[in-house]
Amino acid sequence: MEIGLNHYLVLSTILFSIGLVGVMRRKNLLMLFFATEILLNSVNISFAAISHYYGDLTGQMFAFFVIAIAASEVAVGLGLLIVWHKKHNSIDLDTMSMMRG
């Protein structure tokens, strides 16, 4: 059985769902970052797969962009996380509700 576009897309969807559940369920900020990474990477997989399918490099370039941005995002995010942890000694999401309306 040849591995086709659909397989990649299914994989991407599964990864996306895992990431989504992680985003919704996790209370630990670090875990949240992991889940976001999974989400982004699931998208990257579909970008790459579809790009290959159409023979158009734009999708793959886009995937690189995403990786770059995700990396900088994690860098900034982890920085904030460390500051937060130093200050409050916790990275539990439920303790962060300063924006409460």
Binding site: L20, V23, M24, R25, R26, K27, L29, L32, L93, D94, M96, S97, M98, M99, R100, G101
Partner: protein
């Protein structure tokens, strides 16, 4: 001649304004004397105009200035002195001059003396506008003006609840009728294009009978209010709360006859619609007997006279309705004289009795008040229609009109009413002036009125006695513009039987009245006698329960409905729904702010939910767009 016209018209206004200047200051004689003199001037001017019209047959017509002009509408302040209006002017100025002079004495001790004359002269001015105007709008000015002055004068003693209530009742009831009149005016304008009498009447024969009927009906509704015809009659009796000179001037001689004047003035219209005329005549006959029956038992002398006025107005409407316009106007004139006299006499009695109005508490006053007794007796004779006083010539003529026009039912009703009239008039004369001196039991010390008051009344007395002799001169004058139908029963035998028969019938009624009410056993009724317990008596003394009916069926429901409209509809429905919309916005905000918990994972959950919702919407629309053809087929299959 215009000078006389303007003098006659505006002298009362000047008098009113003069008295009004003293409105806030304490009682000064001058505030009464000047308006009276000015009214005298107005009377003289009117007389000059009368002589002019009488001798030359010319009429005076002036247009003072524009009032309203817009679009095709043009209403000037125009005044006309012709045979009809000059008659009314004479009646109005004459009676009001007498009443003014009389009131100087009558209101002598009242602290609202100055205010009284301001209102009274203002009334005369409005009445003059009413009768002299040459168009319907001007007539309406006067019409409302007299209503206003009547309001002010009925409620003159404003600290009395009953007086202010009666004033408001009169005003509001008149307003109901005025709406009818206003609609009549609108109809005239849109159908004839003008409100001037001459133009409008000239255009009327070309209109459809249906339109004319409506115009006639609506104008007559206006007349019904002012002239207190059934069912808008209740205010007149209550209006007796006002000072007696007011009752004499407004509610007997002038204002209440405005309705008759309107019908007479519109004779060219009513001649075209005899069926409406017949209705007017029938209503008039009904009111004549209806009011007379209430006068039979009433225990308030002013109210008795008020009912009598009502009854006589019914006579006038019979004449006017049957097309005998000059007869109606003639009776109006004669009636003004003797009825004003009767009221002023009643005023003297009230003064003597410290405002007591129950004739059963009087009796034997003739000894102390000879002058008043003579005047009231003669006025009652005139009212009863005994030869050769004024009432004989005017009232019996109406009976003849009914006979000649073959309306035998109306004739018999009027004949019977004539008997009742004689009976109730002499009932109060007998109770007041003759018999036992019952007032002593109540500690009254009656005295005759001031001399000058009696002198002031004498012109009315004179006219009440001799007015009948003007009949032919008057007839020749007014028939310049009114239909000149002469009413004579051609068969002399029938004529004499009718005339003498009526006279005998009336005299018998008078005799009975004297016989019953002069007897020594007359006591102040205390509700125990057999008569007072009878149903008929209760019905009559309660005015056929019509005021109660109005109170229960109109006044109270209106008040309750108003409260309901406010508390339930306006606050609970209209305003509450507006507030409800506002509250819905507030509540949405209030409830959705929980979403902004500040918790990142909750917010993420909302985000996911939103994404899912949007995605599924996109899918649904995408599918719908793709399968739109099939969906249409299915929907049309379902008959949508």
């Amino acid at each position: 001649m215009e000078l006389f016209l303007y003098t006659a018209l505006f002298a009362p206004l000047v008098g009113s304004l003069f008295a009004a200047l003293f409105g806030a200051s304490p009682r000064t004689k001058i505030a009464g004397i000047v308006p009276s003199i000015l009214l005298g001037v107005s009377l003289i001017s009117s007389t000059v105009l009368l002589v002019l019209v009488l001798i030359t047959g010319h009429t005076v017509h002036v247009e003072m200035m524009t009032w309203m002009a817009t679009g095709d509408l043009y209403i000037p302040f125009g005044f006309i002195v012709d045979q009809v209006s000059v008659t009314m002017m004479m009646v109005v100025t004459l009676v009001s001059t007498v009443v003014h002079v009389y009131a100087i004495g009558y209101m002598n001790h009242d602290k609202g003396f100055n205010r009284f004359f301001a209102w009274l002269s203002a009334f005369v001015f409005s009445m003059m506008v009413l009768v002299m105007s040459d168009n319907f709008a001007g007539l309406f000015i006067g019409w409302e003006g007299v209503g206003l002055c009547s309001w002010g004068l009925i409620g003159f003693w404003y600290h009395k609840e009953s007086a202010t209530w009666a004033a408001n009742e009169a005003f509001i009831m008149n307003r109901i009728a005025d709406l009818g009149m206003l609609i009549g005016i609108f109809l005239i304008y849109w159908n004839t294009g003008t409100l001037q009498y001459d133009g409008a009447f000239a255009a009327m024969p070309a209109l459809t009978p249906e339109t004319l009927t409506w115009i006639g009906i609506f104008l007559f509704i206006g007349a019904m209010g002012k002239s207190a015809q059934f069912p808008l009659h209740t205010w007149l009796a209550d209006a007796m709360e006002g000072p007696t000179p007011v009752s004499a001037l407004i509610h007997a001689a002038t204002m209440v006859t405005a309705g008759v004047y309107l019908v007479v003035r519109s004779n060219e219209l009513y001649s075209l619609i005899p069926h409406v005329g017949l209705f007017i005549a029938s209503l008039g006959a009904f009111v004549a007997i209806f009011a007379a029956s209430m006068a039979l038992v009433n225990r308030d002398i002013k109210r008795v006279i008020a009912y009598s006025t009502l009854s006589q107005l019914g006579y006038m409407f019979v004449a006017a309705g049957l097309g005998a316009y000059w007869v109606a106007l003639f009776h109006l004139m004669a009636h003004a004289f003797f009825k004003a006299l009767l009221f002023l006499g009643a005023g003297n009695v009230m003064h003597a009795m410290d405002s007591e109005l129950d004739p059963f508490k009087m009796g034997g006053l003739g000894k102390t008040m000879k002058g008043t007794m003579i005047m009231m007796t003669l006025a009652s004779v005139a009212l009863a229609g005994i030869y050769p006083l004024a009432g004989f010539f005017s009232k019996d003529l109406i009976l003849e009109v009914a006979m000649i026009e073959h309306h035998y039912i109306i004739y018999s009703v009027l004949l019977f009413t004539a008997g009742l009239t004689a009976f109730y008039s002499f009932r109060i004369v007998a109770l007041i002036f003759h018999g036992e001196e019952r007032y002593k039991l109540f500690g009254f010390h009656p005295h005759e009125a001031y001399k000058f008051m009696l002198v002031a009344m004498s012109p009315l007395l004179f006219l009440a006695v001799i007015a009948g002799s003007f009949k032919m001169t008057y007839f020749e004058m007014v028939t310049y513009i009114l239909p000149a139908t002469e009413y004579h029963v051609h068969n002399p035998a029938i004529y004499w039987i009718m005339t003498i028969g009526t006279q005998i019938f009336v005299i018998i009624s008078i005799y009975y009245a004297y016989k019953i009410y002069m007897s020594r056993d007359i006591k102040v009724p205390d509700g125990t006698s057999k008569m007072e317990k009878s149903f008929a008596y209760k019905l009559l003394i309660n005015q056929y329960y019509i005021p109660y009916f109005y109170e229960e069926c109109f006044v109270k429901p209106y008040r309750e409905l108003s409260t309901l409209c406010w508390t339930k509809i306006d606050q609970k429905i209209v305003d509450a729904s507006v507030d409800g919309i506002a509250k819905a916005f507030y509540a949405t905000g209030e409830n959705t702010r929980a979403m902004q918990s500040g918790n990142l994972s909750t917010m993420l959950k909302w985000m996911v939910a939103g994404t899912v919702a949007l995605l599924s919407l996109a899918v649904v629309f995408g599918l719908a767009a793709r399968y739109s053809g099939e969906i249409k087929v299915i929907l049309s299959g379902l008959g949508v």
